[in-house]
Amino acid sequence: MLSIKNLHASVEGNEILKGIDLEVKAGEVHAIMGPNGSGKSTLAQVLAGNDTFEVTAGEVIFSGDDLLEKKTEDRARDGVFLAFQYPVEIPGVSNMQFMRTAVNALRHHRGEPEMNAAEFMKLAREVSKQVDLDPAFLKRGVNEGFSGGEKKRNEIMQALMLQPSLAILDETDSGLDIDALKVVSDGVNALRSEDRAILMVTHYQRLLDHIVPDFVHVLADGKIVKSGGRELALELEERGYSWLGIAEDEATEASSAN
């Protein structure tokens, strides 16, 4: 489904991704771990089409197409979804208006009829319950005044509404308490299916207790330095990153930046 080859990306002339190779098949869940500042969010943003980052080399094939050629909105319509590490607050645009516009843009793309307000509300209410968000939040501005946990749940809600074929989750687990973590991981597990792939950026092993990945990759300094099964996550939990030759201070230094 997703094939990344030798992907290099820079921002403001600084190379952040230094040759990423990754193969993700439908039905698989991949976890990407690594210290702060290693380029995890950059990878996620590049896949979603954020042109703050310049791709300098490499290719990304998604469902047979050159993904990097496509505009962000077309990637989304083709099934790419990014749950942002830092979801944006947009006062003045209600969550409802935002999600309905997104859902209908997708339906339009698929040649399906638009959802009217009543149909949409029914669906939105159900899904908001699924992620334990009070439906009243639909009337508020997009992420406006949301707590960190509410923002993350809102990202999962959008994924559930849009049913993407590739869901990229950027630290959707960070800043969550135990209950919220359960809600979010239930949401992610609900997304798991044969024809969908999930790329999960995380910092912590604890999410992987709830969502068992098929593969774990360690990203350090813009490269995947190690890949393995879920046992790799457990090993990282136990031994940290240093045994992989990743300087401890790289991790700590960069963590203040992000």
Binding site: R77, F81, V88, G92, F98, T101, A105
Partner: protein, 428 residues
């Protein structure tokens, strides 16, 4: 050195004599006072950005002919008075005959009523700063005077449709005077529209006096065509515990100028001034507002938003003047501006003059662009870029649009905004 240009005397020849003597006399006096009136130049502080947009040709000096009929039949959800080229069209107007609210055109006034009105006209405005209001007084051919007795409540909005038919060059001078008695209430919608393509000037004056406890809402929709230079002034005087609310919705043109002057003359008076302006192409819109806090314990709340795209230019100048006796004044002024292109220009200037020591005063002005991160977030959900731009632009002004208390007006505004968005984001 070239002498400063003055207003051509051709502009001082009023048309239409169907007015009571005191109003004809007032007109004559004002006209005489405007002989050699210097036209604003770049050096005229309050016309700094707009003087170059003022293009008064000799052909525009004549009054647009009184057509006697309304150009377009407009259905409105309320009462309606139609003016074409500054002259009322009774056949197109529909308003009630009430005991406690009188709605009259200037020509209908008795000698005594006209004498009273002549004394009141221009009294709400600082005529030195709004010379074009003086021109209106020198030129009006008709006008509408609305008087509400104490406690009178007009049960539906009154729409005043001011249309100009620009089939030839010329000018029109619509005039409105509202005298709201104690505890009376009215919602007045002024709609300025035009037909025809010749260059014309519309020079308007609307005045309100609010007695104790009166509650007046004024919606002003400026929607004239691309051939219309619109120069308007609104003056408001407020007595004790009265409340004035204004919603100025402006769509750009070759020249749009609106001066809004509010005087809070007695304790407990309160005003809320909302304004939205959108400009595109090479349009120009200039709002100048002044709030005079004269008495103590008055509140003013002002929120204006400008959106400019292409090579257009929007100007906001908001002055708050807190007089020495106006202790415990509460004044809040906020102006936010959105530039959609680098070629557009917005100039904003909040001016605070405070002579009392115990006041709460806040003002803020910002100029920005659409937030790239927000745009990316929206399009990353599959929302078309054009729609994402519209959502964010609408978010910038929606707070003000939803406050317009008449649904039909909100719909008109939405329709016009959609036309604006279609143009503004056609290449997105």
């Amino acid at each position: 050195m070239k002498p400063a240009p003055t207003l051509s005397t051709a502009f001082l020849q009023p048309a239409g004599q169907a007015l009571p003597a005191p109003l004809l006399e007032l007109r004559k006096q004002r006209g005489a006072a405007l002989v050699d009136m210097p036209l604003p130049t770049r050096k005229t502080e309050n016309w700094k950005y707009s003087s170059k947009r003022l293009k008064l040709t000799e052909e525009m000096a004549i009054s647009l002919p009184t057509t006697g009929k309304a150009g377009s039949a407009l259905a409105v959800p309320g009462y309606k008075v139609v003016f074409t080229n500054g002259v009322m069209i009774p056949e197109a107007s529909e308003y009630p005959d009430l005991d406690d609210i009188s709605i009259q055109r200037f020509g209908e006034l008795s000698e005594a009523q006209a004498r009273d009105l002549a004394e009141r006209l221009d009294s709400t405005l600082d005529m030195k700063t709004v010379q074009f209001a003086g021109l209106n007084t020198a030129r009006f051919e008709d006008g509408l005077v609305i008087r509400l007795n104490p406690n009178a409540v007009l049960d539906q909005p009154l729409f005043i449709i001011n249309e100009v038919t620009a089939d030839a060059s010329g000018s029109a001078f619509p005039r409105i005077y509202v005298d709201a008695g104690a505890n009376s209430q009215i919602t007045l919608v002024e709609e300025y529209i035009s037909s025809g393509q010749e260059p014309v000037m519309v020079n308007t004056v609307t005045e309100f006096t609010l007695a104790e406890g009166a509650n007046v809402t004024n919606i002003r929709l400026c929607m004239d065509g691309e051939n219309v230079q619109h120069i308007g002034a609104t003056g408001v005087r407020q007595q004790r515990n009265s409340r004035f609310e204004s919603h100025c919705m402006g769509f750009g043109g070759p020249l749009r100028r609106h001066d809004l002057q509010v005087r809070l003359e007695e304790q407990g008076a309160e005003c809320k001034l909302n304004g939205v302006v959108v400009t595109q192409g090479t349009q120009h819109y200039d709002n100048h507002t002044t709030i005079e806090h004269i008495a103590a314990n008055c509140d003013s709340e002002e929120t204006y938003r400008n959106i400019a795209t292409d090579k257009s230019h929007a100007v906001f100048n908001g002055r708050i003047h807190i007089h020495q006796d106006a202790q415990k004044s509460n004044a809040n002024m906020n102006n936010k501006n959105l530039l959609l292109t680098t070629g557009a220009e917005i100039d904003t200037k909040p001016e605070l003059e405070i002579y009392a020591d115990d006041v709460k005063c806040a003002h803020g002005a910002t100029i920005g662009q659409l937030d790239e991160e927000s745009l990316f977030y929206l399009v990353s959900r599959g929302i078309p870029r054009r729609e994402a731009n519209v959502l964010l632009t609408m978010a910038f002004i929606n707070e003000l649009v939803v406050q317009i208390p008449v649904e039909a007006v909100r719909e008109t505004v939405h329709t016009r905004l959609n036309q604006f968005f279609d143009q503004a984001f056609q290449e997105v």
